[in-house]
């Protein structure tokens, strides 16, 4: 019995491999680890924020195979060999994406704690529908909370990016 308990308490671990912002990474993970745990605690990628850890705020949003997902609700083991993109991977060769520029110009961030999640959700939205209407933006982005209340400025930044992308 004691032996069983001891064996049971040894965490099962697994070496997880996936593509992070275009480069291969590996991490030692437990089955209970979320993708957010792995990114923040194991790989020191801190742009996804732990706003709630329950899927309710969107601050941890990352791209998984091009789709916006909540890293806190994503079991780390499920991203094996997949592509994950965080805000750290949005700008290429030090050049900002138009969406990032638009966030800066329109004032899409105040405290900045929601900003990474907002940028990722907006990136996914623009990839899916390059010319969104106001209503589409409201709907698609409604899972991302901003307590500083930057919704209007973020909406303007997204509309502006879409306009310029034409």
């Amino acid at each position: 019995m004691a032996l069983f308990a001891e064996e049971h308490s040894i965490p099962m671990t697994h070496i997880l491999s996936f593509q992070l912002n275009g480069a291969p990474v590996q991490a030692l993970v437990k089955p209970s680890d979320s993708l957010l745990d792995v990114l923040r605690e194991k790989l020191d990628v801190t742009s996804p924020k732990r706003g709630c850890d329950s899927g309710d705020c969107g601050a941890c949003t990352v791209l998984l195979e091009g789709k916006a997902v909540r890293a806190c609700l994503t079991c780390a083991l499920t991203v094996e060999n997949k592509q994950v993109v965080t805000v750290e991977g949005l700008s290429q060769d030090g050049k900002l994406q138009p969406l990032q520029e638009a966030f800066m110009a329109h004032g899409g961030s105040q405290c900045g704690y929601c900003t990474s999640g907002m940028l990722i959700s907006a990136t996914a939205l623009l990839a899916k529908s390059p010319h969104p209407q106001r209503q589409d933006i409201a709907q698609e982005m409604s899972g991302n909370l901003c307590r500083c209340g930057c919704y209007e400025e973020i909406t303007q930044a997204i509309l502006d990016t879409a306009r310029k992308g034409e």
């Binding site: 105040q110 405290c111 704690y113």
Partner: protein, 439 residues
């Protein structure tokens, strides 16, 4: 001439924000860092009969517990020095009040340890309605106080009073007197960044605390008193916060993280989960406000009488200060010749009320402005006109005696009407905050 005042510019750190480079306290990692979690009261009010950590200490990875006995200095902090760091004298006064803290290898271990603590607590009768709490026979939230009312002016004045002119006389001059009772709920700041601290000793043995405090120097002073340490022994690092809205005007994690470092020596992180932050940190507390307004048929306000009750929860937080602010500004930006406001702060067995965006002014204003629109309705007058007639001009006097300078209420209203596409009569548009000519 380099001119920047008045220039719309992006945030200085905007590029850092949109590239994910900005570092917040929760992004800090220190080698050997342990996790702190807090054991909280499961009851609204009670006395702790037994607290047994023996089973919890056997959980692999547990370093130990911090209790009130480990506090080298004062087990009290806050603007009014009445909030305990950890349950004092084995008493708890609201559900979620911190009793002890565990230090462990990681969060799972810490939570496992907390579940193994044997807490024997004798539940006592709580009181939740502030009106009930004011009754002479109500259970006392604070066993050592005479009543559930905060003493605003020692030794025994529990009522805040603010007076301008002769309220009764003003009411007598009125053609109509309009009354109303209003109430506001309990709100959480819910900044996207929950309260968090990272603490450790530096190479000089100084205590380093990374904080999300809004009011660094006030909190540093409080920490010195709790830890019985001089300021030069504490390096208190802050400046960047992921939203606060008044919720980080009170210490929530720094003190406990610091105590953990002092006792065990390990670097620690103490971060509140969203659930803890929502339920157990300071709140915007509830108010009830009674308004009575005297007005002439031509719309000139003659007097107002306001009565305010504020539920501060189990401790004062910054509420007494906020209550005074509420009382001071509840009459609104209007030239009342006669005002009387009375207000009180009342303890109940719920989480502590303290500052939040619009701190208590918001509570007075929402009641006052709904009421003002009811006054306009009673007079059959346009709400804009009622306000243009009575809004402060330069030189008008507030209830605490100050003279208004740089008044801008009329200018704000004119612009709002214009942006809303509302055409105001020329009579109103020709008025200005610079003076009150007969209209």
């Amino acid at each position: 001439m380099n001119q920047y005042i008045g220039k719309a510019m992006p945030r200085y750190d905007a590029q850092g924000q949109v590239t994910g480079k900005v570092r917040y306290v929760d992004d800090i990692k220190v080698p050997g860092m342990k996790c702190v979690k807090v054991l909280r009261s499961p009851v609204h009010k009670g006395e702790i009969r037994g607290l047994d950590f023996s089973r919890a200490l056997k959980v692999p990875g547990v370093v130990g517990f911090v209790t009130a006995q480990d506090i080298p200095g004062k087990n009290a902090y806050g603007r009014f020095q009445d909030m305990p760091v950890l349950a004092p004298e084995n008493r708890v006064r609201y559900r979620g009040e911190p009793i002890a803290a565990v230090v462990a290898a990681d969060e799972d271990t810490a939570l496992e340890a907390l579940s193994q603590v044997r807490l024997d607590i004798e539940e006592q009768t709580p009181v939740f309605d502030m009106f009930e709490a004011m009754q002479p026979d109500a259970p006392l939230v604070r066993h050592d106080s005479k009543s559930n009312l905060w003493v605003h002016y020692p030794p025994d004045i529990t009522e805040v009073t603010m007076v301008k002119g002769q309220m009764d006389e003003g009411m007598n001059q009125a053609d109509q007197v309009i009354e109303g009772r209003y109430s506001t709920g309990v709100q959480d700041h819910a900044p996207m960044e929950t309260n968090v601290s990272v603490a450790y000793r530096d190479e000089m043995g100084r205590l380093v605390i990374h904080t999300v405090s809004q009011t660094i120097y006030a909190h540093l002073g409080m920490l010195c008193a709790i830890l019985a340490m001089p300021m030069s022994r504490i390096r208190f690092i802050g400046g960047r916060v992921g939203g606060a809205f008044g919720g980080k005007n009170d210490i929530h994690t720094d003190h406990i993280a610091a105590l953990a470092v002092l006792k065990f020596g390990h670097p620690v992180k103490y971060r509140l989960s969203r659930e803890e932050d929502l339920q157990f940190t300071t709140k915007r507390g509830a108010f009830v406000l009674d308004f009575k307004t005297g007005v002439k048929n031509d719309g000139r306000l003659t007097a107002c009488r306001i009565d305010i009750w504020h539920d501060t929860g189990a401790y004062a937080g910054m509420s007494p200060y906020g209550l005074e602010k509420c009382a001071m500004f509840a009459p609104g930006p209007y030239d009342f010749p006669h005002i009387k406001v009375t207000a009180r702060t009342i303890f109940t067995n719920r989480p502590i009320s303290s500052s939040m965006r619009g701190f208590s002014v918001i509570n007075g204003q929402i009641a006052s402005e709904i009421h003002m629109n009811r006054v306009a309705e009673a007079l059959g007058m346009d709400p804009w006109e009622l306000r243009f007639t009575n809004a402060w001009r330069d030189g008008d006097q507030g209830v605490t005696g100050y003279k208004v300078r740089g008044a801008g209420a009329l200018e704000a209203m004119k612009k709002a009407a214009e942006l809303a596409g509302i055409k105001l009569p020329d009579k109103l548009m020709s008025m200005s905050s610079r003076g009150r000519q007969a209209s």
